[in-house]
């Protein structure tokens, strides 16, 4: 079970994951992402969220509210729009996990959070590829 300020950080990461899960679920419902890619990314985000929930355990919690975003609604109009929106979400996730991994007071959490960060970085490459862009360079 995480403690103190680490709990706050894990709650924030859980909110990041909740936004991603909501986005990929909506995109799959609306056909705004290629189904195989959407299912894969959604499964990963759900796994991350479940792992964070397990780590939070019975800690005294203060869950963050997640509000549907009007930006997401606009992004669902096309696969290209959604991929660009999702790239932004994944970039936020990479930054959030990098900061968390570096600053966790419980040293045992640092490497596993880095492991999720690495997955989110791979998602960015997958989304760029879905846009027909080169994985790293234009």
């Amino acid at each position: 079970m995480a403690r103190g300020s680490d709990v706050e950080v894990l709650e924030e990461l859980l909110a990041v994951e909740a936004r991603q899960v909501a986005a990929y679920e909506a995109a799959l419902r609306r056909g705004a992402i290629e189904p195989a890619l959407g299912e894969e990314l959604l499964e990963h985000e759900r796994e991350h969220a479940a792992a964070l929930e397990r780590r939070l355990g019975t800690a005294e919690r203060n869950p963050r509210a997640t509000v549907p975003s009007s930006e997401l609604t606009r992004a669902l109009r096309s696969r290209e729009d959604f991929a660009r929106y999702a790239l932004g979400l994944e970039a936020e996730a990479v930054a959030a996990y990098a900061e968390a991994a570096a600053n966790m007071s419980d040293a045992r959490l640092r490497q596993p959070l880095g492991s999720i960060m690495a997955c989110e970085a791979a998602h960015r490459v997958a989304l760029r590829d879905s846009l027909g862009r080169r994985p790293l360079v234009d």
Binding site: E47, A102, R110, G114, R124, V125, A126, R134, P135, V137
Partner: protein
Amino acid sequence: MAVSLTRREALGGAAAALLLASCGGGDPPPGGAKPGSGAALLSSLLALQHATVAAYGACEEVLRGEALAEVRAIRAQEREHAGRLEVGIRDLGGEPPAGKTAEEYARTFPRLRTEADALLFADHLEQRQVRAYLDAIKDFTQAGARATAADIGADQAGHLAAVRVLRGLPAAQGPFVTGAL
């Protein structure tokens, strides 16, 4: 008993041997850096970066088209990472290791005959890099060094994913790239 290796195992094993040989986690801090400053670990990561830059040079010789452009972009980022690590070591009062000569590195590389060989080699290189930086996040005692390791580690994960895409594989191996939460 003779041990037979598949070509895939041989290439992967060579990458592992190269990179493990390049690491020196138990080395003393370089130059005038203080023990425990993190300079020794930064130097190990820098040695890994030097080896990786050289290895990508070998990959470039057999790649063409999009794969060559991607690998060149990755190699340029690897050089930037090496530069960041050198600055970090100097900031701690150390002297960055210079790396080996191109000929010395070349002797440790597998023979890359095809694009598939080069991309498999690159895949193994990036897996080692990702593991090294994620381990460094755990091992550095200073938050600033951990932040640098996390930042570069995210780039390495992007490189690994890009190489996987070039190999026709899904970008992400799974929800946890190394070690689950």
